[in-house]
Symmetry: none
Subunit: 222 residues, 2 copies
Amino acid sequence: MTGASPIVSQIGILEDDPELRLYLEQIINEAEGLGLAFSSGTVAAARTCMADARPDLCLVDIGLPDGSGLDFIAWLKAEQPTRCLILTVLGDRESVLSALRSGADGYLLKDTPPEQLRRAIVATIAGETPLSPQAATYLLNIFKATVPALEAIDDSLLSAREIEVLKLFSRGLSYRETAGILQVSPHTIGDYVKAIYGKLSVHSRTEAIFEARQLGLIRPLD
Amino acid sequence: MTGASPIVSQIGILEDDPELRLYLEQIINEAEGLGLAFSSGTVAAARTCMADARPDLCLVDIGLPDGSGLDFIAWLKAEQPTRCLILTVLGDRESVLSALRSGADGYLLKDTPPEQLRRAIVATIAGETPLSPQAATYLLNIFKATVPALEAIDDSLLSAREIEVLKLFSRGLSYRETAGILQVSPHTIGDYVKAIYGKLSVHSRTEAIFEARQLGLIRPLD
DNA sequence: GGAGACACCCCAGGATCATGGGGCCAGGAC
DNA sequence: GTCCTGGCCCCATGATCCTGGGGTGTCTCC
């Protein structure tokens, strides 16, 4: 919009293919609100650059001559909260998952069009997570394996109140503490517990939590 | 590329806003390789349409006058393997997760540019999962909670034996049962418990399990 | 207008757990 | 050699939990 917009976000590039690196530099230089912090072709060079340049985001390739971009990300994340966007040709399951595990904030394939890439960079700096449709597929599969489908959840089994109690229990609270939070008598908590144990056919709180988790009544991190 | 490319993929639309519906119809009609199977503004109408039209993919809104698009998807997925792409203004955590739970194959916000939308449709039919960066963020958070970062796990905190005990506890076992499985005295279990509580700074087994889960020492379903 | 489900309150006894103490033995670190 | 850590065993006491019982009031559904 403005002819002289201030550069707000500094971007670092870690990519060994000279041609592609030039192409990325071009995109960043031409984009409003983005500036080039550094551009390097090796992990070693990028680490040196990080010392003085303090980019808001790094575009990182995976396969580099002197190591993996993932190691660079893991190292970087331990040092400072710079955001990292993976840009690679590798679309396989292992690459995607280990990239996200190592702390990447997004995963794009190299065939991403320039405009979409620019949007992805901005979104990542804003705290969002751009994923290539291919990468997202793997993530969704894990999600589906972890969180049972809606129809598998029998909401009618436990009442809303009972689930509340169970969630608090799962965080380690005692009868007294739970009663305090729910603003009821500790005796009442005991009543809910009776109902819950009965319905789930268990005899201790830990069993109940385990069972409820398996049934999808409470989520990994409620 | 070709002037007379065959229509390969039929698309159904479920969207109550007439203006947006027209806009979507236009995108599909103008896109190569895509054709309009049906376009409806209510869940009821869409269900009727599904009887004769057999689209390869449905674009689905969440908030509809006679119900939720998610219910439509759940119904549809139970009937046939049609792919479903959510197109909504809702970007909150709950909407995203329940959409993916109900079987959606992608989740896009309504401000997605036309070209990107077209690409997303094609990608979804190809079996990929286009997610808006916002939606992907929630999914990634769950992923991180489920599969802890490799370096985040501090194996040295708890000994192997202590983790064994904690895992058994997390499945609802008592001192005696745990002792039976590990072939040690119940008193010894008490000793491990002391050590665990001390290291994790907690005072009950449920707290310990919660803490250990957060630290990635034990997995959701060990 | 009762039957049933849910939210809420109370009591009591026996089981289990939490946590303090006491030890023994093996293996690595200093 | 000594120190420390981890695996293993034992005991005792008070706190907490589990589970049986006894109630009240509000809904909704038939």
